[in-house]
């Protein structure tokens, strides 16, 4: 791995996306409290804020190509391919979820802008998290991001399930944060450093055989804290309840952003320390991956609630992505491709859910999408595309990502994991095709009310579905990008 050039002090460009997001949130807050202003003004402020954020990410690319991998603010913020990838993904998530979140918030009576402020705050935290080199910064970013998510989950105060989801998410999430920070402190005890790179160098210095027990346990606890966020089994128990209870319009954002940032951080820690400690955790990760694939597919097959089904499918997908990350460098690049395509499908599915189910409602029985095809053909067709993508049927990006990932795993000789994941794919065909059956084939006696889509919704769903098919047919460019992300570790 190439040396990290340490630019001492202060470069605001590195954290400019975070600043832009926080700034936008504060301006919105100001407008909400003081000046009576209409929707359009707030919407344009948010939109401009997002554009500025995207521009800041663009500036970071410029800085990266100038300085290479570099660390800032006395080794707290890191600028590398992973942080750029994370920034881009988070900006995309924001852009795609902006309208559903806004529409959902309009239906809340007096808290219209609250949701969007929380969204921006959460995104700023997760931006910080993917940028962090320092473990404390990682924790701070994670907490800023997560606390806003807890509030988002319970924003619909009239709904009991929403309250339950928020409380559950908060209690279990704080427990996970405790575990994470305890792990950080244990790592600090051994080497007196917080930087991800420094402790890896420290371990390399003492030699892999004499890694202090505190470090091993500390790193393990950090992983557990992060695995909680991506809902990998056996840390998945919160996901179905939170997905089900939260207002449907927010779930796409909540699930995708936490997953993206945690996966990127896990990938970075694994790659940095891969030669030193990862082998001690092989059994641990093996258990996590296998139980994710098995528990996820098993429980997803028996769900009657679509949001719970998606939560358990997310557990399976987490197992897939994690298996690539812990396998090695090429596996990580495949996982990054997988992550990107999966996030697109996930957001698309939840936008469709929020249109069918109403933005704020919590429960979403599988029966309620009956007759979607007769109601709105566009929605039914794009629903099929996303579901086929999640199942991994050829001609969608889901197949390509699974194919590349499994190819890499096979090259790493992880036959057990490959066979378990292949079996979970078969189960996936069962539980992903069931909603499609309901939506397109099953006839309904009482036709659901006609769904009217706005132009913006058409645009977002079409874009996501097109991308899902595009990356299934012409995946080469995105695969090259995913290999560029890990190029330094090859």
């Amino acid at each position: 791995m190439s040396e990290i050039s340490v630019a001492i002090g202060f470069n605001l460009i590195v954290i400019s996306p975070t600043i832009a997001l926080v700034g936008t949130a504060l301006v919105l807050l100001f407008f909400t409290i003081t000046i009576e202003s209409n929707e359009l003004v707030k919407q344009s402020i948010t939109f401009i804020g997002m554009l500025i954020t995207a521009f800041c990410v663009f500036l970071k690319f410029g800085l990266f190509f100038e300085n290479g991998i570099s660390s800032y603010f006395t080794q707290k913020i890191l600028l590398d391919e992973f942080s750029l990838f994370g920034n881009v993904l988070i900006s995309l998530i924001l852009l795609f979820n902006f309208l559903p979140i806004w529409d959902s918030s309009k239906q809340l009576k007096e808290k219209t802008t609250e949701a969007i402020i929380l969204t921006l705050m959460s995104a700023s935290g997760f931006m910080l998290m993917v940028d962090s080199e320092n473990l404390i910064m990682l924790f701070i970013g994670l907490e800023i991001g997560s606390i806003s998510l807890y509030a988002l989950a319970g924003l619909n105060r009239g709904d009991k399930l929403s309250n339950e989801a928020s409380l559950k998410y908060f209690l279990l999430g704080s427990l996970a944060s405790c575990i994470l920070i305890y792990g950080v402190s244990l790592v600090y005890v051994s080497f007196s450093v917080f930087s991800v790179y420094n402790f890896a160098i420290g371990i390399a210095y003492v030699g892999p055989d004499s890694v202090p027990l505190t470090t091993s346990i500390g790193v393990l606890l950090i992983f557990i804290g992060l695995l909680f966020k991506i809902a990998a089994a056996p840390f998945q128990s919160w996901a179905p309840d939170v997905y089900q209870g939260s207002p449907t319009g927010y779930v796409g954002f909540m699930s995708s952003i936490a997953k993206v940032s945690s996966f990127i951080v896990i990938a970075r820690i694994c790659l940095v320390s891969i030669n030193f400690i990862i082998e001690d955790f092989n059994i641990f990760f093996l258990i996590v991956i296998i139980s994710s694939a098995l528990i996820g597919s098993l429980f997803a097959s028996i769900q009657e609630d679509l949001k719970r089904l998606l939560a358990y499918s997310g557990v399976v997908q987490s197992g897939f992505i994690l298996s690539g990350i812990v396998a090695g460098v090429n596996g990580t690049s495949a996982s990054m491709f997988y992550l990107f395509t999966y996030i697109l499908q996930l957001i698309g599915i939840f936008i469709i859910f929020s249109i069918i189910n109403g933005k704020l409602s919590s429960e979403f029985n599988i029966q309620s999408i009956q007759g979607l095809f007769t109601n709105n053909r566009f929605l039914a067709a794009s629903f099929c595309v996303f579901m086929f993508g999640l199942a991994g049927i050829p001609l969608t990006s889901g197949f390509v990502s699974k194919f590349i990932l499994l190819t890499n795993l096979w090259a790493y000789e992880k036959y057990l994991i490959v066979s378990i994941l292949l079996l979970s794919t078969v189960a996936g065909f069962y539980f992903y095709l069931r909603p499609i059956w309901m939506a397109t084939i099953e006839k309904t006696e009482a036709p659901i009310e006609t769904l009217k889509l706005k132009k913006s919704e058409y645009f977002v769903i079409t874009t996501l579905a097109t991308l899902t098919i595009f990356f299934g047919l012409v995946p080469s460019s995105l695969i090259n990008i995913s290999r560029w992300i890990v190029q330094n570790y090859l």
């Binding site: 499994l406 096979w410 490959v418 078969v426 080469s476």
Partner: protein
């Protein structure tokens, strides 16, 4: 030439899009337009037969870089055998659209799905590398899912999910085999070259060859289907709409056997030699089992479904024997079975449209009310049984002749399959068409109309043509078969 080959995949897709674009209120346009559109691929097939030299072994025509970072290219090509199967596919698609009843003719989803299925199946036969083979192999599930799910019978949900899960369970083994081959090719050449030429030149050890053979063959055998893996077939056939059944029996079952002939045997011959007896044994069990179960069926469509298991058992016996004659017979039997079973399912569909039942005991004496139908059914039954002079005889005879030197005992048992076929087909014919016309509903049935006669007659002509002049088909499969046979005979060092 390249664009011609591509058009076999893309024309049906474009056709289906065109059909989807017609507004719903012009229902009367759907069927005629689809018929004209599906004439184009068939016309192209005939053009190719006349103007191109199709009597070749597999010929790579074009390659598209797909994943450049891994060096995976998608290859497209053709051979004599794949061209025969494509022609069969295009013909059966046209005829099944000709034969659809009024309800299906007014649904553009149905007609469009059939064309998408045609595209996917053509893709399987044209694929020149393992990835595109797998992509098309799996992609044909999507139209099949909707065909069976939306327009199927009363128990369609169970049948569809069973069909999908069985096929997917098989296909994950093919995927694993593809990945394993890719990794092996990466180790030897530095890129994931999965095209047929690179795999053929790849050197692999005996144990690797055995594992790969098992992975691929298992996946394809689910699709054939071989005896213990067959249980999805009767359910799928009974629940699928007539056009779906025709294509399922006519071409989808051939996809599995085609995969074994194209991939499993030539590339992993050592594995084939190791496991050929097991496959032959299971095929013979399937021949006898399918025939015996077919005898006791009360549903005529299920009877034909079980007869398919028996007939595909013959194909697999011929393939597993690995002799020149038996391989050739197997390919010819694949074509024959596509024609005969397609015709039988179409005939059953005609009867079902009139009477809305398929129970054999509901019929009797139909010969009096539907004389043309009865004679056509008898003709097709004879073809299915393997009466000399009709197509079924050629394939089965070649398979039995060719397999006998390799598996003497097994082939002797397999020969009983022909006798049993006569029992189930003729007994069913006797119960349905002979005897008294004692049911009033049967006495008012109308005979085949001109539209239905147009749909069935090309198949009848083909049965007779292949029965009398089998060398025509044989000349197209010779090259493919010699490639497969050479790969076997090079290893065992025996010449015939």
């Amino acid at each position: 030439m390249i664009s011609l080959i591509y058009s076999f995949i893309f024309l049906p897709v474009i056709n289906s899009i065109l059909v989807f674009l017609i507004p719903d209120r012009r229902k009367e346009l759907f069927r005629p337009l689809t018929i004209y559109l599906s004439l184009i691929p068939l016309g192209l097939c005939l053009y190719m037969f006349v103007n191109q030299n199709l009597k070749t072994s597999f010929l790579e025509v074009d390659s598209i870089p797909w994943i450049t970072a891994y060096g995976i290219d998608l290859i497209i090509g053709f051979s004599g055998m794949s061209f025969l199967l494509i022609t069969l596919n295009c013909l059966l698609v046209l005829l099944s659209i000709l034969s659809v009843n009024q309800e299906h003719a007014e649904s553009k989803g149905f007609l469009g799905s059939i064309m998408l299925l045609q595209a996917a199946v053509n893709g399987v036969f044209l694929a020149g590398d393992l990835v595109s083979l797998f992509i098309f192999f799996e992609a044909l599930l999507i139209p099949m899912y909707f065909l069976m799910g939306i327009w199927g019978g009363s128990n369609r949900r169970y049948a569809t999910i069973k069909f999908i899960l069985y096929t997917v369970f098989g296909s994950i083994f093919i995927l694993a085999g593809t990945i394993y081959t890719g990794v092996l090719s990466y180790i030897s050449s530095g890129k994931f070259a999965l095209d047929f030429e690179s795999i053929a030149s790849m050197s692999i050890t005996t144990s690797q060859s055995e594992i790969l053979f098992l992975l691929f063959t298992f996946g394809f055998l689910v699709k054939v289907p071989l005896f213990p893996l067959h249980t999805w077939l009767p359910d799928a056939h009974v629940e699928a709409p007539t056009a779906g059944s025709i294509l399922l029996a006519g071409v989808l079952l051939k996809v599995g056997a085609y995969g074994i002939l194209r991939v499993s045997i030539p590339f992993f011959t050592e594995g084939f030699l190791r496991y050929q007896f097991i496959i032959a044994f299971l095929s013979v069990v399937g021949i006898i089992y399918g025939a015996i179960i077919a005898i006791v069926q009360i549903d005529i469509k299920k009877l034909i479904a079980y007869s398919s298991i028996s007939h595909m058992g013959f194909v697999m016996l011929g393939i597993s024997a690995g002799r020149y004659l038996s391989l050739e017979g197997a390919v010819i039997q694949m074509i024959n079975h596509g024609i005969t079973s397609g015709a039988l399912f179409m005939l059953v569909g005609f009867l079902y449209d009139r009477r809305h039942t398929r129970r054999i005991s509901d019929f009797g004496g139909l010969k009096k009310s539907m004389p043309i139908y009865a004679s056509i059914f008898l003709f097709t039954s004879f073809a299915s049984i393997g009466l000399p002079g009709l197509n079924g005889f050629v394939g089965e005879f070649m398979i039995l002749m060719g397999s006998y030197p390799t598996f003497k005992v097994l082939t002797s048992f397999a020969a009983f399959g022909v006798v049993l076929a006569a029992i189930y087909m003729l007994w069913a014919y006797q119960r349905m068409f002979n005897g008294q016309l004692d049911n009033d509903e049967n006495s008012v049935l109308t005979d085949l109309n001109s539209k239905e006669l147009v749909a069935i007659s090309p198949l009848l002509a083909l049965m007779l043509f292949i029965g009398i002049y089998p060398s025509f088909i044989e000349s197209y499969v010779v090259q493919d078969v010699s490639v497969i046979y050479e790969s076997i005979s090079n290893l065992i060092g025996v010449s015939q």
